[in-house]
């Protein structure tokens, strides 16, 4: 799926390239006093061979850039939680390669620009202006500093683009809030893109000027010595103020920057538009070989994250707009009469939602355990949100990590919040799709209660999560957070009967080191987690859950009239339980500090920051989903088997009092 889309996006960006090049040539030959000559010269230039060659070279550049876009995209943004994480991200080898290649590409583009601009920029080495003295009869070749300036500016622009890409999370693919045809989306974003390129180019060129002023002599000297050129003493050297205050130089560099940024941004925008377009997944495969591509199968297996996102988006759209496909979802299999499609879809959606519930509960427990200090919420188990790592999270909602989490948080200070968690597995047993997780979870509870025996000091328990947080802080973001808690869980498990004083001595030592280091302000500066960023990191893949909620609730609402076999009714208790539990947990989560404050919004920027407010969208769509179900079913909901606590909440929803 993605391959075809990428090819289409690259083709379109290549088609638009000559248009941009033509505009560049026209604008670079700017001659306000002789407009007719300017226009005719520009049009003549458009057909020359070196322009064609430049266009071909730029196409190669664009293809390379697109390859990098494809390699680096992510549907779940990776949000660095602390400054050290941010620095780590920048130094990461993948990012270094990205920056290096972009710098080289920038240089190539700048070289093309110099060729097309002609004039004084064109060649690296020109013959020096003849000096008056009769000693040097032999003309020497001098360094054309303007050309070098251009090439270096290209490199700098490429590197800045790459840095900006990283910091603004431009590899994140936001899905649009309304569906539109691709052409309309592109046309709508184009003016913004042009404006953004111009403004950004000004900033980058200004920074480059400053950098060249201070460091410009280094490459100059290096090129001169390697290529045996001389510095022309007659002309002003460019790394002085008088050299740099050249308006025409600034204009040409800026124009080159705009050209570069615009072509790269167009490639990126087209990739974004193509990749986030909806894909139609068949619900019921008509041919045997299509079975792998049908919606229930895809949702249940573990596809690459983009495919899963597209599948969920398709589910949301079909549940709202397509009665034919809804019928396929509600249909029974032949023979046997099993509602495979519905079972698969609802199981996947519910497991997604339960996973989110658990994650939020874990974070709330960690926040409660870490306590009263004003320090930002420490996270017990935040996996690095790179595309690779997120895959492991989606395996099942019962993973080793959640074992550890439950163990750590089953301390005496556990609030009754975990009670709904225990009852929902209980009600799940009755439902047709029991997950094998339940047995394991029961096992965890037993081991934990036995563990309570030997090590009962609540002080140790209380300190447990905090220490794990700090130690995982020390390990930074490079290593997996999972490995350490798992290790210690295994260690603790085996040590359950060993004497506890070794354990406490170790903990004390770690505590001392941590206290010592935390007094060093510099280290805390790097290690302290930005609260807003940590909150965003928890909700970074909430888009999946929002779609699952919408799709599920629309299907349930539609089933009131369209479900002929009653396949939805048997799963209604489970659905309601999951939704109500999630709603409670989300409401409680929003009472934590910083969670309900909205980050400031910058409208009209090309950079998409919608991932910052995903949690609000999740809360709103959760409420709407619940209301949708209660509005359609009305009083019939009283006949559904749910726990009394949930019944009370449902009554609130029925009376529109939530």
């Amino acid at each position: 799926v993605l391959g075809w889309r990428v090819a289409a996006a690259v083709t379109w960006s290549l088609v638009l390239l000559p248009v941009c090049t033509a505009a560049f040539i026209v604008l670079s030959g700017l001659h306000l006093l002789h407009p007719v000559r300017w226009i005719s010269n520009s049009f003549n230039d458009l057909y020359t061979s070196y322009v064609i060659f430049c266009i071909l070279l730029m196409s190669v550049v664009l293809i390379v850039i697109s390859i990098f876009n494809v390699e680096f995209y992510a549907v779940v943004p990776s949000i660095p939680c602390s400054r050290l994480a941010l620095i780590g991200k920048i130094i990461h080898p993948q990012q270094v390669i990205h920056s290096f290649v972009h710098a080289v590409m920038g240089m190539l583009v700048a070289w093309c620009a110099t060729v097309m601009t002609k004039g004084r920029f064109q060649f690296l080495a020109v013959s020096c202006t003849p000096s008056e003295s009769l000693d040097d009869a032999v003309p020497q070749t001098c360094l054309n500093e303007y050309h070098l300036f251009f090439l270096l500016s290209g490199t700098f622009l490429g590197y800045s683009y790459s840095l900006f890409y990283l910091i603004n999370n431009m590899n994140y693919l936001p899905f649009p809030i309304i569906q539109q045809y691709k052409y309309l989306r592109f046309r709508r974003s184009l003016p913004l893109l042009i404006k953004h390129s111009c403004v950004e180019s000004v900033y980058f060129v200004r920074n480059f000027f400053v950098a060249y002023y201070f460091f410009g002599y280094i490459p100059k000297v290096w090129i001169c010595t390697t290529m045996d050129l001389h510095i022309d003493s007659k002309l002003h050297p460019l790394d002085t103020l008088s050299g740099l205050l050249d308006l025409s130089l600034f204009y040409h560099t800026w124009l080159c920057g705009v050209f570069l940024l615009m072509t790269w941004y167009i490639a990126w925008l087209l990739f974004k538009i193509y990749a986030t377009e909806t894909h139609h997944f068949p619900v019921q495969p008509t041919f045997a070989e299509e079975t792998d591509q049908c919606l229930p199968k895809i949702l249940n297996s573990n596809p690459p994250l983009l495919i899963k996102f597209l599948a969920l988006q398709d589910l949301m759209l079909l549940s709202q707009y397509s009665p034919v496909r809804r019928q396929e979802v509600f249909s029974l299999s032949q023979p046997g009469g099993h509602p495979h499609n519905w079972t698969a879809i609802s199981r996947e959606c519910l497991s997604l939602l339960s996973d989110l519930t658990q994650r939020l509960i874990a974070q709330q427990e960690a926040a409660a355990a870490n306590g009263r200090a004003k320090q930002p919420v420490g996270e017990l188990k935040v996996p690095p949100q790179t595309p690779g790592a997120v895959g492991t999270e989606d395996v099942s909602f019962q993973s080793q990590r959640s074992n550890v989490v439950l163990r750590a948080t089953m301390s005496p200070l556990v609030k009754p919040s975990l009670m709904p968690l225990k009852t929902s597995p209980g009600s799940d047993i009755g439902s047709p799709f029991t997950s094998p997780a339940l047995n394991c979870k029961k096992g965890v509870v037993d081991v934990n209660s036995s563990w309570h025996g030997p090590l009962q000091s609540p002080l140790v328990m209380r300190r447990g999560p905090k220490l794990w947080t700090s130690v995982s802080d020390h390990q930074m973001n490079g290593s997996h957070h999972e490995s350490f808690p798992v290790l210690s869980a295994a260690k603790a498990g085996s040590e359950a009967v060993q004497p506890k004083f070794i354990y406490t001595w170790l903990q004390n030592k770690q505590e001392q080191i941590k206290n010592f280091l935390s007094r060093r302000a510099l280290i805390m500066y790097f290690f302290s987690k930005h609260p807003e960023a940590s909150i965003q990191a928890v909700f970074s893949d909430a888009q999946m859950h929002i779609w699952a909620l919408e799709g599920l609730s629309h299907l349930v609402a539609a089933s009131f009239t369209e479900d002929q076999f009653g396949v939805v009714q048997t799963t209604l208790p489970a659905i309601l339980n999951t939704l109500l539990t999630l709603q409670e947990v989300v409401d409680r989560h929003f009472k934590l500090p910083h969670v309900s404050s909205k980050p400031s919004r910058v409208s009209g920027s090309l950079v998409d920051t919608s991932y910052k407010t995903l949690r609000f969208a999740l809360r709103a769509s959760l409420k709407t989903a619940l209301y949708r179900i209660t509005t359609v079913f009305g009083e019939h909901l009283n006949a559904v088997q749910v726990s009394t606590e949930h019944k009370k909440r449902l009554q609130q929803f029925l009376e529109y009092k939530e």
């Binding site: 496909r325 209301y627 009305g634 939530e658």
Partner: protein, 357 residues
């Protein structure tokens, strides 16, 4: 002009309504509680329209001079002055004054439009993101109406053109009218018929759309021409009290959510003496054929003109028409009838006919 009530909105699921007054405050009246919260905000000026969010307890969107205010009210609170912290401000440069609002019937998106902006904004309220839907020519939007099944949106412009957008891929159809701008319009409950009127003409037009099946993406599916279904030009009725002249242009029109009653404010000709503004009520049916039969007239006290009319979205025993008069009174007029369709709580789904035995 001169009416103290600026805008009126019924809550889609409960017995609650909001009234916007001339002093830029909004009062929320609830039949279940005696407290009347009064909403005030410094940005709430020149309120033109209000809309409650569907599938929600109490979120009210208010179209103000410079922005759209979304009030998140607590349905169980007893305070009479909710703080202005409950209001979310949605503003976009160049998009003011906002005069029309429409929520999607599935409750997720809010459309806002302004007569000076040639772009409608589709808001995702919780993330405060918006998407601009731009078109060329025709000016801004003077009237917005979303069909109850969620598939189409009517956007009337100040020029002699109105557009019907389909809400899945957001493409639009342009409908030029002959003489004037589209004054008002309303949708049938299943979204298959649009009744609209044109400024300067005293007829009601009907435009039918093909049944929305979900397979035709990107097509609005409107029929080729609109047909005239009712002629409301001035006629004289002989009553016990003498001759009454009623008829003229249509000021506003609303259709009740069961599709059975249509209420129209008819403004008499200002020049001719004795003509008055009255509300005409029609009995309508949309399936199997469209039928429009006159049912009666509603008149208020002497010298009170009807300004705003609205039907209650979920009146269980027929239809409830609310009229805001120019004297500042709000009256509710019930119509008791047995509907031919099963009344459903969510008005945006097509009604299922009851099988007679």
């Amino acid at each position: 002009a001169g009416c103290p009530v600026r805008a009126f909105a019924w809550h889609p699921h409960t017995n609650k309504f909001a009234v916007a007054l001339l002093d830029d405050s909004i009062r929320v009246y609830n039949s279940n509680s005696a407290t009347v919260p009064s909403l005030k905000h410094r940005l709430q000026r020149n309120v033109a329209s209000m809309a409650w969010k569907p599938l929600c307890a109490s979120i009210l969107a208010v179209a103000c001079q410079s922005c759209v205010l979304v009030w998140h009210l607590d349905p169980t609170s007893l305070s009479t002055r909710p703080s202005s912290g409950c209001a979310q401000v949605l503003s976009y440069p160049g998009h003011s004054p906002v005069t029309s609002l429409a929520w999607a019937p599935s409750g997720e998106r809010l459309l806002s439009a302004s007569p000076v902006d040639t772009a409608m904004l589709v808001w995702d309220v919780s993330t405060e993101n918006c998407v601009q839907l731009q078109w060329f020519g025709g000016g801004g939007v003077t009237y917005l109406a979303w069909s109850p099944d969620g598939s189409k949106v009517l956007a009337a412009t100040p020029s002699a053109v109105f557009r019907v957008w389909e809400a899945q891929m957001w493409t639009c159809e342009r409908w030029p009218t002959i003489r004037g701008r589209c004054q008002t319009g309303c949708w049938s409950p299943d979204g298959s018929r649009l009744l609209f009127t044109v400024l300067g003409e005293s007829v009601i037009y009907s435009l039918s759309f093909s049944e929305y099946r979900g397979e035709m993406q990107g097509q609005v599916g409107g029929s080729k021409t609109a047909s005239i279904v009712a002629d409301l030009s001035e006629t004289t009725f002989e009553t016990l009290y003498g001759d009454e002249r009623i008829g003229g242009e249509v000021h506003s029109m609303v259709w009740d959510p069961t599709g059975e009653r249509l209420a129209v404010i008819i403004r008499g000709h200002p020049d001719s003496p004795g003509s008055q503004t009255a509300i005409a009520v029609f009995r309508t049916r949309n399936s199997p054929v469209f039928e429009l039969l006159p049912c009666g007239f509603v008149r208020g006290e002497r010298a009170a003109q009807p300004q705003i009319i609205a039907f209650h979205p979920c009146f269980p025993r027929g239809a409830l028409l609310t009229v805001c008069w120019s004297s500042g009174k709000i009256s509710h007029i019930p119509f008791f009838f047995v509907s031919a369709h099963v009344p459903l709580a969510s008005p945006h789904r097509s009604p299922v006919p009851v099988v007679a035995s």
